[in-house]
């Protein structure tokens, strides 16, 4: 065994960089990360998203910088959207403006990182790709990662959505806001033989505003569905053909697979009675051992290998949370999403007894990013980067 950096640190404390978490200080993501980092031999600090969302920031010299979610804070959301008033609780509003503000903030962070000679554990450009479902889908597709086909170009309203579905011969699709997170604004839509049905957690207020709900409902009124889609579309849509997911123990399932430094560390089965599997929608964690038994070792290994390849598309990010759908026959699989902040998996331990954050910190102790796989490090995409700079600048 080589000496771990932590052991070295005991001898040379000055060599261990400070950890800075960009997050919302009261959020449990930050709390759980700090708990996992309690043995880190240097200070662990929080750079509040409110500061970064509001303007320029500075970082301690040589720090390691972890970027976590700006979510669940109305003021941060307001600042990122550049809006006068905060959104109401659960309101789905200004997703494109939010994305632009989020990008600008991440670029400011990049500046601060350069100024401080700091090191990022998640690359701002890669985060931005992961927060653009269209760009993420395209990147995965180019890398040969199985993804459901998408409607291209993305429809600009409900009428165009139905036209494009008709032209493609698709009757079942997932309509997603391009910049939404978790299940926000997603509709599982079927349309055939004069009938329409959408399953969604979106509620529409009488004044037309949209809200996330914890209740998944079926909408059969086409005017209601159209009103929701038309309200979401100006901020960008990403529409994929519905990939039918396997069922287990009476529930539909998919997998959240956390890939840390090129290795799968944590897998969660998300089990739902609706097409939307996000755990905050009253869904439950399913039985991974049962799933592996039904799926078979080979298909399971292939599925995880796909997740690693998906995460390989983001070589400068320490971790990526890949949502993997397994087909109804257990043989095919496809990636639904790659989540930049997909490592909030409370209480879930890997084979070595580590939670997601501990596994990430261990990878850093082992030398990530300097020792990240060479193949991954080479996968820089300069053209895409400069395009992204223009987009977010």
């Amino acid at each position: 065994m080589t000496r771990t950096p932590a052991r070295e640190a005991a001898v040379h404390p000055s060599r261990v960089p400070r950890l800075v978490v960009v997050g919302n200080p009261e959020n449990r993501r930050v709390e759980l990360f700090r708990a996992a980092a309690r043995d880190w031999p240097a200070p662990v600090e929080v750079l509040p998203w409110r500061a970064l969302a509001a303007g320029a920031v500075t970082l301690p010299a040589g720090a390691l910088v972890r970027v976590d979610s700006p979510g669940e804070d109305a003021e941060v959301d307001r600042l990122l959207r550049g809006a006068e008033a905060p959104a109401e609780h659960g309101e789905i509003v200004g997703l494109a403006a939010w994305y632009d503000g989020f990008g600008a903030a991440l670029l400011r962070l990049g500046d601060a990182v350069r100024d401080a000679g700091a090191t990022l554990l998640n690359d701002p450009y890669e985060i931005l790709v992961m927060f653009d479902k269209r760009a993420c889908h395209a990147r995965l597709g180019r890398a040969g990662v199985p993804v459901p086909p998408a409607l291209l170009p993305a429809p600009r309203d409900y009428g165009e959505l139905r036209e494009l579905m008709g032209a493609a011969g698709w009757h079942r699709v997932f309509v997603k806001p391009a910049h939404g997170s978790s299940a926000s604004g997603i509709l599982a839509l079927r349309a055939a033989a004069g009938r329409v049905l959408a399953t969604t957690s979106v509620e529409r207020a009488s004044d037309g505003r949209l809200f996330n709900s914890l209740r998944v409902r079926a909408v059969r009124d086409e005017r209601e569905i159209a009103a929701i889609v038309d309200r979401l579309a100006p901020d960008g849509l990403h529409v994929e053909r519905w990939f039918p997911k396997a069922g287990l123990a009476g529930r539909v399932i998919d997998l959240r697979v956390l890939v840390v430094a090129g290795t799968v560390t944590h897998v969660v089965v998300r089990a739902s009675r609706t097409p939307l599997t996000n755990l905050h929608l009253g869904n439950v964690r399913g039985d991974l051992a049962a799933l592996r038994a039904v799926m078979g070792a080979e298909a399971y290994a292939q599925a995880l290998a796909t997740c690693v390849r998906a995460a390989d598309g983001f070589p400068n990010s320490l971790h990526a949370g890949v949502d993997l759908m397994v087909g109804t026959g257990w043989r095919r699989h496809a990636v639904a999403e790659v989540n930049a902040f997909g490592d909030l998996l409370p209480g879930l331990l890997d084979e070595r007894g580590r939670d997601s954050y501990a596994a990430e910190l261990a990878a850093v102790r082992d030398g990530w990013p300097a020792r990240r796989p060479a193949a991954a490090a080479e996968r820089a995409e300069p053209a895409e980067r400069s395009a992204r700079v223009e987009r977010v600048a």
Partner: protein
Amino acid sequence: MTVNEHVTVFAGLPVVEFGADVPVPPDPGAVAWRLSAEYDTTPDEFSALVGEFLAAVDPGAVTALIVGQWGQAYETPAPVELLADLAPSLTGLTALFLGEMTFEECEISWIRQGDVTPLLDAYPRLEVLRVRGSEGLLLEPVRHTALRELAFESGGLPGAVARAVGECDLPALEHLELWLGTPDYGGDTVVEDLAPILSGTRLPALRELGLRDAQIADEVAAALAEAPVVARLDTLDLSLGALSDAGAAALLDGQPLTHLRRLDLHHHYVGTELAERFARELNGVTIDLSERCEATDFGGRYVAVAE
């Protein structure tokens, strides 16, 4: 509730999904073969899959077949003709499940069926026929001497189908299962449509009767309370429906049910008082009263499987 997962056992056999890379067991008749197109395939590609299947196995040895997604099942009717035409090859087929799809593939009320009578005509030795989905479903009254088990799973069973079942002559039928569903999804079956079944005249071998997923469960229960067929049953299944105290009281106060082996009422709206009466008065009968549901503030009661 919706149909969320595939069956893993059918006609007593473990299900194996056919695929080009799936090894064929030494006895192809020892498993139930599932033929299902991928979600993005067309009906033409489904018939190609059937062709591959028939080339890979000895068709005459196949005993049980499950047809899942045949491609765009929400607009293309089930491949009844294709399956009927295979009868000269599938000489050993005794069990068929048509439309075994989960809601992720196609909601039960969106599955397009058609006239399934040709299947009974083409396979006189068929013992098990299970059909999921009722959009466009038709059945002509037939006489079939081998059929032991017949099931129509739906979110709304057309009354015409219920009547046709009653007019069939099925001397070997032991298990009949109708998911009546709700009028919202085409379930316009009324109790009168069930009269021939409840009389049992043409169903001399019937042992298990399921009138499931019924919005009209209370009316069905009231009819069962004096239906001649009940005396012959060992299993009565009113599960998945909207059964309330009215239906439960009718069952308890009607003809004796103590001869039953099993009474399945799971997913119901029966109060605790009557539920306790079942336990007390039907001592010796296995009763499933799980999944008690609460009516809405406006008295709304729902079946388990609708859309």
